[in-house]
Amino acid sequence: MKILSLLLLPLLLFGELEVALSTSSPLKPIYLTRCQLSAEETDWRLFEDLRQILEFDLNTGGFVSVLEVNDAWEKIDLSHPLWQQQKIPFVCLIQGSKNRLSVTLCQVDAKTSKKYPDLVLSGQIDDDRYQIHRLSNQIHKDLFGKAGIAGMKILYAQRSKNKPKEETEWSSNIWLSDIDGANPRQLTHEKGYCLSPGFLTEKNHYFYVTYRSGQAKICKASFHQPQGEVMVSLRGNQMLPAFSPKGGVMAFITDVAGRPDLFLQPLDKEGHMTGKARQLFSAPKATQASPTFSPDGTKVAFVSDKDGPPRIYVLPLASDGKPARPTLLTKQNRENTSPAWSPDGKKIAYSAKVDGIRQIWIYNFENDEEYPLTTGPENKENPAWAPNSHHLVYNTESEESCELFLIHLNSSDPVKITKGPGQKRFPAWGLY
């Protein structure tokens, strides 16, 4: 018995778990021709840039995959049987002349074509790209009944090294950009540290956590106002805020009571504090973090290490104010953090440590299953859902580099959307 136990123990401790993944893609192929320019057109670079933007928008929309350009197909008519033979269900003909871009979409099996209204271009890529975004969203809607995500906005924190003579080595401020990483704009210009941004339902307003006074405080700001105003006036630190999609309440972590505990703060319609904050959850010797609300506002998921490594729990918000018990949600992996509840309420995305690497995992409420969304050697954190509950943006995390990636549930290939200096983290998806 003793010898058998000792022989079996190493096999069980060091064995590997095998996961079988489906290899067939749910994405439908689409062919985009090169931009066919009229003879007198000379600004081919603008048209090429716009074609690339269209390709990016379609590739990241979650329903189609753009095929590589094939010289032999460039002059083929949209009605030619070749497309059906090649099993290409959609073909886009792109033409440009003077300051106009024309796109015709052919649905091969249905033998129908639709010519979209010409895009009148200004010649400035930063403006014209939004016309392409609207076009790609319309194409998605025509083909699949759902608009695409092109042109939406994201917030994130960008961390940069200070100049050598500065008091601190790093600073971090809040930035706004398009979902494809275009048009990045710094919103806050604080000397200290800013993290954890998110959009508020009030248009053009957002929240973030600032360390300008030394301790963490939750601020509300607008895109046009340089500095946010502190929202919660408790002593100590307040951090990792989340706002109920139903409005009226905010969850956050604070040490006002001497521990990093989960608190709720009621808010009025203007987003101002109303009444006292309420201590929602605490546990002996435990650290709580990262609350996220269910879309109906009746539950909050959060991180706690009360039972060992950090895991994700769900706590119902009883209307009578009586404390409830949290339920352990994530069981498959042992270090789970930064949960994000999907807008449709059916899933929670989170970061789970698997074989020493943090990956993005999904918990599906419909079948109580947990499954990995990402693979690869980089640590990944802070998933944030798109309003369509189909796309996520997250950041990689390492000492050397942190970038934002876009991924949708139909694909295991994330797309990097940020570039340039600075470490981009804590992304949040816009509501419009």
Binding site: L9, P309, E335, S338
Partner: protein, 222 residues
């Protein structure tokens, strides 16, 4: 005794069946924690249900700042995890120094206010020299009643950034509670967390991680 050992080993084998090697190790640690609690309870050490013996052992929130969890739950469950309300004075107001005016002590004081270090995922100081350092800091603060202190909790790179911000707060508050237990006025000690945002050392080795898991001190002498 032998049958208990076989039972424990069997439990570990079952725990190891469900996952990868790292998950099995975490399961082992969790199992070990619960086994330790069970053994301790046989000897009268009860972590979660000892009643406080007097009101002095429980310090609740300052009046009406927030709605706390039910006092009965707190008193019965948190006997070994003393929590203290934050200082009454708000930094930068009414004579309380702003936190950006605090500074790292230099000269003789630098050695006294040296950083203390934590084990992985822990917020409790286990190293005797670190505990002794806290006692010495407390002694200094008690004899210098116009000195204020900021405790900054830091973490290594391995956990997520968001969890580390909260763990840093946990560490800072634990050090604060140790100082208050030694008699320092709680209204002179502030806590901040830097998570893993300000590493002292670069790299990915256990020694680097150990250096980064720390509480740092800054003071302000009025």
């Amino acid at each position: 005794m032998k049958s208990s050992a076989y039972l424990a080993l069997f439990s570990l084998l079952i725990a190891g069946c469900s996952g990868t090697s790292s998950q099995s190790w975490e399961d082992l640690k969790t199992t070990g924690r619960y086994m330790q609690k069970g053994v301790d309870s046989l000897w009268g050490k009860d972590y979660e249900s000892r009643m406080l013996t007097s009101d002095q052992e429980f310090i609740g929130p300052w009046d009406e700042e927030f709605i706390p969890l039910n006092h009965g739950d707190l008193r019965s469950q948190f006997a070994t995890d003393m929590a203290l309300p934050q200082p009454k004075g708000i930094p930068g107001m009414n004579g309380i120094p702003s936190l950006d005016h605090f500074y790292s002590p230099s000269g003789e004081l630098a050695a006294l206010f040296n950083s203390v270090h934590f084990e992985t995922d822990e917020h409790i100081l286990k190293n005797k020299s670190d505990v002794q350092a806290i006692f010495q800091i407390a002694s200094y603060l008690k004899s210098h009643p116009s000195t204020y202190l900021v405790v900054a909790g830091h973490c290594d790179e391995r956990a997520s950034a968001s969890y580390n911000m909260a763990l840093g707060v946990r560490r800072a508050n634990y050090v604060r509670s140790m100082l208050v237990k030694q008699g320092v006025d709680l209204n002179r000690i502030y806590t901040v967390s830097r998570g893993k945002e300000e590493p002292l050392a670069s790299g990915h080795t256990p020694e680097v991680w150990r250096q980064n898991r720390r509480a740092e001190f800054k003071i302000y002498e009025k």
